[in-house]
Symmetry: C2
Subunit: 213 residues, 2 copies
């Protein structure tokens, strides 16, 4: 398709498409004449991914480029590529590999999961636990266990939907898995938070009789 | 206690404490001399709440004031006060009471919950569902059901921990419930997201054999 059609089908303005081409986020089309190029369904797909990363996920262009590089060429260790790709998403808590994350460590060990301070989410968890503690609402063991059980079940569902997770040695499957992990994390987190707030309202309506009609 | 002690115990700088006093977020102390006032444990507690709202929860001062007003004087309908308080938290999707939220409505009805477009989280959910759809990762019914089941269980746990939810007619209990709902939403959401990401890593490590040592 021509670039005008790419613009039309994606809904991304021409100036933005050209910017992505210049920045190397979107690969060039196949030149058909000196001034025209042909774009494929892959370009359309890539545009959607870029929009999700820089829009909904809120990534700066530099970080989006790093994620796209991992999608395009996952290295041999898919587990590590997945971790690096998801770590490019906000919030940026700042990982200190030698860091001591006492609150996060206690939670992770209580859940029977592996504590590895190189996981970006460890610093993220430490930061969140400390903020709750500072506000006088530290997370109880009971809450950790309740949250942990249900979030683990959600994670199992998520991974079960990961494209071709089993064929991890295949590069194309690796790319699809990384793309799914990044977009699924960025796009489904807001869904999860909204659904929890709505569930609160549903439960509260049941408890506070007369408080709702 | 003197204001200097309030500063020391809370860790909030003097200039900030004075700013909160000027802005009416922190009620004045009891004057002991023309230039000195006495502050109580309640002030210390209130300072922690203000810090959580304006810091971790990221509220602008105006919105923090609105939440504090609800905590101080919940109106007769606790359910509505809870909803208004939580709606003051980001993200701000912009509620349109006459709005048509087709994606959110379908999800809420599928979960058997009440669809009320006045709930702020409805617009939030619609926005999140649309972003996922635009990126080519629409949420399947199966995913909605899996997420919905576990998030409802988390919400039941959360509400079960709400202080004196049963004594909702009592104003002090109402205040405590609103404070818990707002702070619990703002402070535990980041914990939930970090825990889900860690659960992903745990599940992925199990699936991708050899990908993790």
């Amino acid at each position: 398709m021509r670039i005008s059609q790419l613009v039309e089908e994606s809904g991304v303005p021409l100036a933005t498409v050209k910017y992505y081409l210049r920045e190397g986020l979107l690969p060039p089309g196949t030149a058909t004449t000196a001034t025209q190029a042909d774009y494929s369904e892959q370009h359309l797909h890539r545009l959607r991914v870029i929009r999700a990363l820089t829009g909904a996920a809120g990534l700066p262009v530099q970080r989006a480029r790093a994620v796209l590089a991992l999608i395009d060429a996952p290295d041999g260790d898919l587990f590590e590529s997945l971790g690096r790709a998801v770590a490019a998403l906000p919030p940026y808590a700042g990982v200190d590999p030698d860091g001591d994350y006492p609150r996060a460590r206690a939670v992770i060990e209580r859940l029977g999961q592996l504590f590895d301070p190189q996981y970006a989410a460890v610093a993220q968890l430490e930061h969140a636990l400390k903020a709750a503690e500072d506000a006088g609402l530290p997370i109880s063991d009971e809450r950790i266990e309740a949250y942990g059980r249900h979030l683990h079940a959600i994670a199992e569902f998520d991974l079960g939907q990961m494209p071709s997770a089993a064929a991890a040695s295949d590069a194309a499957a690796g790319s699809a898995a990384i793309e799914y992990a990044v977009l699924g994390t960025a796009l489904y987190e807001p869904v999860i938070l909204a659904m929890r707030r709505l569930a609160h309202q549903d439960v509260a309506a049941g408890i506070l009789e007369g408080g709702h009609d």
